[in-house]
Symmetry: C2
Subunit: 350 residues, 2 copies
């Protein structure tokens, strides 16, 4: 139907569908792509002061949350739309779906629309891997993965890529999820054991990654499960009322966060005094503050996911489109010959 109303080049926005995102991931390789994205995320953390930052704008309902996450570095602007609906799974929908847009600041024109359900899984795992490389104890060889849903395998693959961790101990409240993850991860060459309790799963692990999805205060990890020297990635607690760790763990840990104004509201530290000391990750990446300083230190990445990570992911994908043409042109912007003559454009199409 488009031939009679063919828009100009300016009106087209490259669109990366889910099918095309999968093609891109397979062309580059999932592990390589997350490693490459981690480099971009790290580079953007290092130039943190250049970004316009704001806590995400959340619309909460009984069933879940819909969020907009914008940011800009002054040259490009990006935002992500993402939902989180724990009850979706039982209805055959994804808990988390997302899409995003990258734009030019100078014209305000979008330059890419992309699916971000897969891309969010990649960037979340890439960020965890980056922080794990920064903070995990020396010689770490085993990771416990608590919560074996949609995010689990991405975490494992990214952390292996950056941290050489090949031994995994899995636990989920639903053993079907654990079996699914075990099968997928063994197919990727991991050494995997499955466990029937979180206590059992964390035994002998130096790294614990929690990525559960309940929208309620939960206590996936209790204090007695956490030995000295561990590194914890707490991925799942990412909105008000949603946490995974007992507060005693937080008091024993040195806590690293992305953006305190958002993490204080959404992260594990919503359980703590608003003045409780935390370290901003960008200070560590930029060499302005230390990461791990002692072998017996417990380090905690209180991950909630921040807009700059999505921005890094968007600009990474946008750069890939130059060599991998995995996109369709989308007629999303009106483009009249005379920019003031929108009415005339409409009438001439009639």
């Amino acid at each position: 139907m488009k031939d009679t109303l063919q828009p100009s080049e300016l009106a087209y926005v490259p669109f990366v569908s889910v099918a095309n995102m999968m093609r891109l991931i397979h062309t580059i390789g999932p592990g390589q792509m997350m490693a490459d994205m981690a480099s971009v995320i790290e580079a953007d953390f290092k130039r943190w002061p250049e970004f316009d930052k704001t806590p995400r704008i959340a619309a909460h309902s009984e069933e879940g949350v819909i969020e907009l996450m914008p940011t800009s570095d002054g040259a490009q602007y990006g935002f992500k739309y993402v939902n989180g609906h724990p009850a979706n799974m039982a209805r055959g929908f994804q808990t988390v779906t997302a899409f995003g847009v990258l734009s030019r600041v100078d014209t305000g024109y979008p330059v890419m629309l992309t699916e971000m359900t897969l891309l969010t899984a990649l960037r979340t795992a890439a960020t965890s891997a980056l922080v794990t490389r920064l903070l995990a104890p020396k010689g770490a060889h085993t990771m416990a993965l608590i919560g074996n849903g949609a995010q689990c395998e991405f975490q494992a693959v990214a952390i292996r890529e950056l941290c050489k961790i090949n031994t995994l101990r899995l636990y989920d409240i639903d053993d079907k999820a654990t079996n699914k993850a075990a099968k997928n991860l063994r197919a990727q060459g991991f050494d995997v054991t499955t466990h029937t309790s979180p206590e059992d799963a964390v035994t002998g692990a130096q790294i614990i990654t929690t990525c559960t999805a309940d929208k309620q205060f939960a206590t996936i990890l209790t204090d007695n499960m956490i030995g000295s020297g561990m590194h914890i990635n707490a991925i799942g607690g990412d909105c008000p009322g949603k946490t995974e760790l007992h507060p005693d763990i937080l008091h024993r840990s040195d806590i690293f966060v992305e953006y305190p104004p958002q993490t204080r509201v959404e992260g594990e530290i919503q359980q703590l005094d608003p003045e409780h000391p935390v370290t901003e990750l960008w200070h560590v990446f930029a060499g302005q503050k230390p990461g791990r300083t002692r072998e017996d230190q417990i380090t905690l990445f209180d991950s909630v996911g921040f807009a700059t990570e999505d921005f890094s992911a968007l600009r990474y994908v946008h750069a890939q489109l130059e060599t991998h043409p995995f996109f369709d042109p989308l007629d999303m912007l009106a483009d009249p010959d005379d920019t003031r003559d929108l009415w005339g454009m409409l009438m001439r199409a009639g």
Copy 2:
């Protein structure tokens, strides 16, 4: 390329392109469509307390602004992405482009993605017409249109549809814009005169609509130009530092606004004390406060455009798609067979 990776029904989001939006407008008729949208906008103003409201989230730069405008009525969620870049025109780009998404609150899934450059022009004009019908003096027959850019003709057509105004007096700082608008509006059967000064244009008009685009404090209208009993729609002043009216006019007018927390920052009233009394339009639509009370009263609609108006426009278009199939299915959402097996979906596509 889509055949080998065919997504399920759940993964598709209906997309209304610019070409399809033009088809929809021509099928319904632009005047009729704006009148229908005005009814939806009015209905949503009447149930104002049901909406989650927040001032739009703006990213300002030297060249312009990029904004996200979300809102929800608890059942549906909508947001618009819109830019405003006055310098775009000289570069062959639109000053304002926009797109938007409507979603279900219960699942968080988008149900429509649509162009909103044209739709914003329609909803802005529909809102002006609705407010003009509410506040204009009895027997008004002539409107001055100051600023003859992309929004001008839409304003005229919508206001004629709702208020039976057929006589127009045009002025723009650039007479090419005035000539373009005069030609377009005469083709629509309006009685049009063109003028070389705003003073001249407003003479004999009972309604003045300003829709200029400069991003700076401007004084399009001065106090001596405004006679008693007039109604003014100030459309163009819609971000910090961008105004169109001399403050003396504001002091003589009764001022009607959409959402005070946004209008105080972006509207004409940014020039006034933050406590200056204004009337919220929804109170008037809901019958809780009076509109025009005297023949000699100057009424001013300090329009900035609010998210609920975009929400009304989105749900209007979405409803039309049931009978007018002017959309393409977009593979925007990942939809694995097992919702927890995103990795497995990715691997099977490989």
